[in-house]
Amino acid sequence: MAERVFNRFTYFERIVHWVVGVTFVVLLATGLAFSHPPLFWLTGILGGGPAARVLHPWIGALFSVGMGAMAFIWLRDMVLDESDWRWLRAVKHYATRDSRNVPPAGKYNAGQKMFFWFQAVFAVAHLGSGIPLWFPAGFDAALLQWMRLIHYAVTLGGGLLLIVHVYLGTIAYPGTARAMIDGTVTERWARHHHPRWHEEQTGR
């Protein structure tokens, strides 16, 4: 008998996720190219330095729209409650696969929620510092220097979180990535990773 599956993400949620995901990776690659000369060749993915300079801000605008859509669909789900703080205090057990000592998560665990909040704050900082860098004419040079510093700092934060996000969503937890591909997860996956959500789904 085939294992029962649950719908975890709607078509719209998956579209939004991949718009944000793909734009973020392209922005990260070209941004690193602009910051680290040995990586300048990465501008090639957008057709070279001048083209990358033109496209990077537009892709950033698309990323911002995607982040806005994410906030619209997920903001309420991402509010941390009391059990989330217990989860965060037990993050050591989560990282070491000691699942018996990890408080049961709802649809999203506290780590996923923190990922959302950090990336949301970073996205606002990226947008706020990116606009003056997009149209530097008329802005004070000293202000632009600070914007460059902020833009790079939040890229670093977002990039590091992306590594964790991709790792956990793929090779660390098999069965997770399909939630963002066909939108479903298995019952076994749901019961193990998000027991409280599983309960809601089954009405148990």
Binding site: H36, P37, S99, R100
Partner: protein, 300 residues
């Protein structure tokens, strides 16, 4: 004219941050000296600059000043700014020859992310190579003198190149050549510094007690220097009193970049290390266990 164009620094390359002496013993290190007290405001230098560099004419409009253009532009690399200032009750034109100062420590070059877009020669000239320019305008954020100008049509940045094609051929820059009062001098940096001191002495003798040489140390000195009669009023000449090639945010950015590259690398390695230690989580193994957090709960 051997070695006139030997390279000292190239943008977005390791050499940009490590001042290396020329590989070959360099030729002369040039400097332009602008004696503002000797300028009669004829703007011949502006015309010569436009002509030699084939910059073309921009329509201008009278905005109540003797100044030709409001600002520098991709087509106007040199602008005589006529700052109208009252000095001791008299109206004075505190003229500034606004163009690239060719810093010894060029903030534009340090800020540039495009390999080879900005080159500093051992002769002191800092030149933009538009072929490699990506149009990001980071040089504008790095310049303490607000000199580079972005062309929205070509999406390239340009500025005074000290008539490098003339200098290479042993000639002085066009503005120097054309100046009718010899207010602009050209020669080795050493000679120009000596000349500047003499000019200051002369100005002092004429009663300009605050006359000074503008060759700011914050950018390692410049290859266009000024002699200003009123050295106590730099702001009125539109000259920053303490320009720097490495302002605080850029220094912090440089540090963060060094750390950042390692952090990203260690992030990937960390994930890999975690995977090698814990591997993929196999849910079958948990089948007989309770799910997350049910430790100690009574068996269902």
């Amino acid at each position: 004219m051997a070695d006139t164009l030997s390279i000292r620094r190239v943008s977005a390359s390791p050499d940009a941050y490590i001042p290396i002496s020329a590989l070959r013993s360099g030729g002369p290190t040039y400097a332009k000296l602008v004696d503002i007290g000797a300028c009669i405001g004829c703007k011949g230098c502006e015309v010569a600059c436009k002509e030699w560099n084939d910059l073309g004419v921009e329509p201008t409009a009278n905005f109540g000043s003797y100044q030709s253009h409001r600002d520098l532009s991709p087509k106007t690399w040199l602008l005589m700014r006529f700052n109208e200032v009252e000095v001791d009750g008299n109206l004075n034109w505190l003229i500034k020859k606004d163009a690239c100062l060719h810093c010894e420590e060029p903030g534009c070059l340090f800020a540039c992310p495009a390999p080879g877009a900005i080159v500093q020669y051992t002769n002191g000239i800092v030149d933009f190579n538009q072929e490699n320019c990506i149009g990001c305008q980071y040089c504008v954020t790095g310049c303490p003198f607000d000199i580079p100008r972005f062309d929205v049509h070509t999406r390239k940045v340009s500025k005074c190149n000290m008539c490098i094609d003339r200098v290479e051929a042993g000639l002085e820059p066009a503005c120097v050549k054309t100046c009718p009062t010899n207010a602009i001098s050209w020669g080795s940096k050493h000679d120009m510094l000596a000349l500047a001191d003499k000019k200051v002495e002369t100005l002092n003798a004429r009663g300009y007690q605050n006359a000074a040489v503008y060759n700011p140390a914050g950018v390692g000195g410049t290859h266009m220097m000024y002699v200003v009669p009123h050295g106590d009023r730099l702001a009125d000449y539109s000259l920053p009193s303490d320009p720097t090639a490495s302002p605080a945010p850029m220094t912090a950015l440089g540090f963060l970049k060094r750390v950042g590259a390692y952090l990203m690398g260690f992030g990937v390695l960390g994930a890999l290390g975690h995977f090698l230690r814990y591997g993929p989580e196999r849910l079958e193994e948990h089948e007989d266990h309770e799910p997350h957090g049910d430790a100690g709960a009574p068996a269902a």
